[in-house]
């Protein structure tokens, strides 16, 4: 790798940074395995949820799209780990000092990492989510979700289902960016993973038992996971505390906030 010459143009510098980061990401065996595991876990949990669903005679009262995308709640843990490792791996090996010597513009490095994490996560999430929808389409009719009960087979041509599926892909990408931001700020992989998943999971667990409806609604609105997963809803939208896209917007704010804090710390702290 050539050191950045003094007269290097901004665009050329950026593309070199991207290329360097891509090489690092690509040549780590763990990245591929973790992406594979994220897809596998997402699909497996979704299919298991489909297979366990029942539709009693009184009406299923279940959102089949949301049900068949259940695995996103589990798969996001691995997506978070992939993003965390992209930065904390450099700190644990001391590689970060070489990276920053070669590419002194730190924000460019972080932006390159963010872009390069988002790409593979988007691709793998899209494949996983498509598989989940397909699994739902195949499994759910056998569990009472039939057209006779008012549940046509899941189809991406149906607007709300497309929004749920596409939104789930974006959701996973935003989780990756949120995790990257947190990992940039705290550096230690285990701490970053614990922090990200603690913040994600605490809201759905806690809101369940908050009987005060005022509190419950607000908690669901501000939680990155509870709000973000509103994008998966295709029925009963009026009962949601936020509209689907507003919900994804809340998660975007979380991701942007985490990346901003991470970037500030990255910019001003010694590596």
């Amino acid at each position: 790798m050539s050191l950045p010459a003094a007269g290097l143009s901004r665009a050329r510098y950026g593309s070199q940074t991207l290329h360097a980061e891509w090489t690092k990401l690509r040549t780590l065996a763990s990245t591929g395995w973790l992406l594979l595991a994220a897809a596998a876990l997402t699909i497996a949990v979704s299919a298991a949820a489909d297979a366990a669903a029942t539709c009693p005679s009184g009406g299923c009262q279940t959102d089949p799209a949301k049900l068949s995308l259940t695995g996103v709640q589990a798969g996001q843990a691995i997506v978070a780990v992939i993003a965390v490792l992209a930065i904390s791996g450099e700190y644990s090996t001391g590689m970060i000092r070489i990276t920053l010597t070669a590419m002194p513009r730190r924000l460019t490095v972080l932006a390159a990492k963010a872009a390069l994490i988002t790409g593979p996560v988007l691709v793998v999430s899209a494949v996983a989510v498509l598989a989940c929808v397909l699994a739902g389409r195949l499994i759910l009719p056998g569990h009472g979700f039939t057209a006779a009960h008012g549940y046509p087979p899941l189809a991406l041509g149906h607007g709300p289902v497309l929004r749920a599926a596409g939104g789930s892909v974006l959701y996973l990408a935003l989780i990756a960016l949120l995790s990257l931001g947190v990992a940039t700020a705290v550096r230690e992989a285990a701490v970053a993973i614990g922090l990200v998943l603690g913040v994600l999971y605490v809201f759905p667990v806690v809101t369940n038992v908050v009987t005060n409806q005022h509190w419950q609604r607000h908690l669901e609105q501000i939680g990155p996971m509870t709000a973000g997963l509103d994008i998966q809803a295709t029925a009963n939208l009026r009962s949601l505390p936020l509209t689907p896209w507003q919900g994804l917007g809340v998660l975007t704010l979380w991701a942007a906030g985490a990346l901003t804090i991470g970037a500030l710390i990255f910019r001003f702290r010694d590596a």
Binding site: G59, T62, V206
Partner: protein, 534 residues
């Protein structure tokens, strides 16, 4: 000629006993500031969430807020404070039924024949006729009760709509008798005899061949008891846990039974029978409850239930239990798992493992010492977290007037100590996983997928019960069963989902699942630690 005396240190020989290894590991743990902070954080997060939940679950007096409950009978409204009775065992009970009674002085017996048990006045469920839905625990039979006080001791022989003949006593106890439904073609004969403190129940299909169903000891039964016929029918509740939140729609039901061949032994008064709809509260209950007696036939109509009240959301008992204050356990567990991971992976990161293993070449002992240190530290942190969460939050809840399930002290002790044990064993499990994989990110990921995600998927309603049931049996998350606040009664239909605090495995069985995983992981860790170069 001079003899050279080799230098000997005057310092005491440090030795390589297990005590020294343990001391060395404890020193490592104690002196890394981040790890101690992580443990303190675990305590603060768990207890803090408990306090938050106690405050956020303060009663909002408008109505029952957890779900769309409707229907004529409701118990345990959040604002009025506890309005349920306590049974002889101290548990909240429902004690509402139509009672056709007479006082029985001293010993004696009561025998009857039941020829029909039918349901009346069924309302609609979800705007669809619910006539075909059976209320399996409608009950009709004979009862001997310690006076007419609500929640007083009793023993009863009964036919049920869907569960055959039963002998039940003191609300929580249940023994099956003859199976099958009752009808005019196949009536059921029931008998209760009192002898001092013991009451024996018999059943028969023909009135001549009798079978003893069981003998019950009711301590301190007064010499004169209330005895007679009763009919009751619990409300029918349809549960749906979907669309992210749980829902229940409840409808009161009413049952009518026909009795004849009433025969008695012992000192009964000559006066007529008294009919009462016992323990109605206010407007609740049906208009039609009553009895009619003609030519030795009694037709009795009643509603309500004689059974324990089931705690948890969407149930008829108190919705809030101490387990709700411990929902932050999983967050504390993540913090402890992060520390436990780094306790091992930091050795590899810094190369300290080579020094450690040079100092104490018995690698299995090093692993054991690390496990003891991290397990003990996690136990202490878990105990502080659980005790803090339960005690402080209970205090706040009582101050707010929240209707809280009255936890018997042995169960509360099991919940607190069990939570500490859960965190301690999970920490050892994490340490073993970290030893196997050696990378902190991978180790923490495995622990979160194995323990945290099954719990998180099962905590809110919305995931099909079949999946969460399986996850909470097979994965190490089964140990969360230690936090189950109230027993699950097979003789009461209720919302027994994990989201309501009920687990598919018994508390200590669930804990055994986590322990089994931990033993397996430790064995793998010890094997690989010995086998591999450090």
């Amino acid at each position: 000629m001079t003899t050279i005396t080799p230098y000997r240190s005057t310092a005491r020989d440090a030795g390589d006993g297990f005590g020294q290894i343990l001391h060395a590991e404890w020193t490592k743990f104690r002196t890394v500031r981040g790890w101690v902070i992580g443990m303190i954080l675990a305590v603060l997060v768990t207890a803090g969430l408990g306090v938050f939940l106690a405050r956020a679950s303060s009663p909002s007096c408008s109505s029952q807020t957890s779900g769309g409950q409707q229907g004529p009978t409701q118990h345990g409204s959040a604002c009025a404070g506890p309005d349920y009775a306590l049974g002889p065992g101290g548990e909240p009970v429902s004690d509402r039924f139509y009672f056709v009674r007479q006082p029985l002085a001293g010993n004696g017996s009561l025998t009857i024949r039941v020829t029909s048990l039918a349901e009346l006045g069924r309302e609609t469920v979800n705007n669809q006729p619910a006539g075909s839905i059976l209320v399996p625990w409608s009950k009709a039979g004979i009862i001997i009760k310690d006076g007419t006080g609500q929640g007083s001791a009793y023993a009863a022989m009964m036919v049920t709509a869907g569960n055959g003949v039963r002998l039940q006593w003191n609300y929580t106890q249940d023994t099956p008798g003859l199976p099958g439904a009752v009808s005019a073609a196949s009536p059921r004969w029931l008998r209760l005899t009192r002898d001092g403190d013991t009451i024996t129940g018999y059943d028969s299909a023909d009135g001549t061949h009798w079978t003893r169903v069981g003998t019950v000891r009711l301590s301190s039964l007064p010499s004169t008891v209330q005895a007679g016929l009763f009919v009751t029918s619990p409300q029918y509740t349809a549960y749906s846990s979907s669309l992210g939140t749980g829902n229940a729609s409840s409808n009161a039901t009413q049952a009518t039974a026909v009795f004849d061949h009433v025969s008695r032994t012992g000192r009964w008064p000559a006066s007529a029978w008294t009919g009462d709809y016992l323990f109605r509260s206010g407007e609740m209950g049906f208009q039609g409850n009553g009895y009619h007696q003609a030519a030795g036939r009694f037709t009795v109509t009643g509603s309500g239930d004689i059974a324990p009240l089931i705690a948890g959301p969407l149930n008829d008992g108190p919705a809030i239990t101490v387990r709700d204050f411990l929902l932050g356990t999983f967050a504390g567990l993540i913090a402890v798992a992060v520390v436990a991971t780094m306790f091992m992976t930091a050795e590899y990161r810094r190369g300290l493992i080579r020094t450690t293993l040079a100092a104490s070449p018995n690698r299995g002992r090093v692993l054991a010492a690390k496990a003891i240190v991290i397990g003990s530290a996690a136990f202490v942190a878990g105990l502080a977290a659980a005790a803090g969460a339960v005690l402080i939050a209970t205090d706040i809840a009582h101050g707010n007037g929240t209707s809280l399930f009255p936890e018997p002290w042995p169960a509360e002790l099991r919940i607190i100590a069990g939570t500490a044990a859960l965190i301690a064993v999970a920490a050892v499990f994490t340490l073993a996983i970290a030893t196997v994989v050696r990378r902190s990110a991978t180790a923490i990921l495995i622990v979160i997928v194995a323990i945290v995600i099954p719990f998180v998927l099962s905590a809110p309603p919305g995931i099909p019960a079949g999946l969460t049931d399986w996850l909470l049996r097979v994965t190490p998350a089964a140990a969360f069963a230690l936090q189950q606040p109230a027993p699950q009664y097979s003789q009461v239909q209720a919302n027994y989902m994990p989201s309501a605090g009920y687990f598919p495995l018994a508390p200590w069985t669930g804990f055994a699942v986590l322990c089994a995983w931990t033993v397996f992981a430790l064995a793998a860790a010890a094997y690989l630690l010995r086998l591999r170069d450090a």
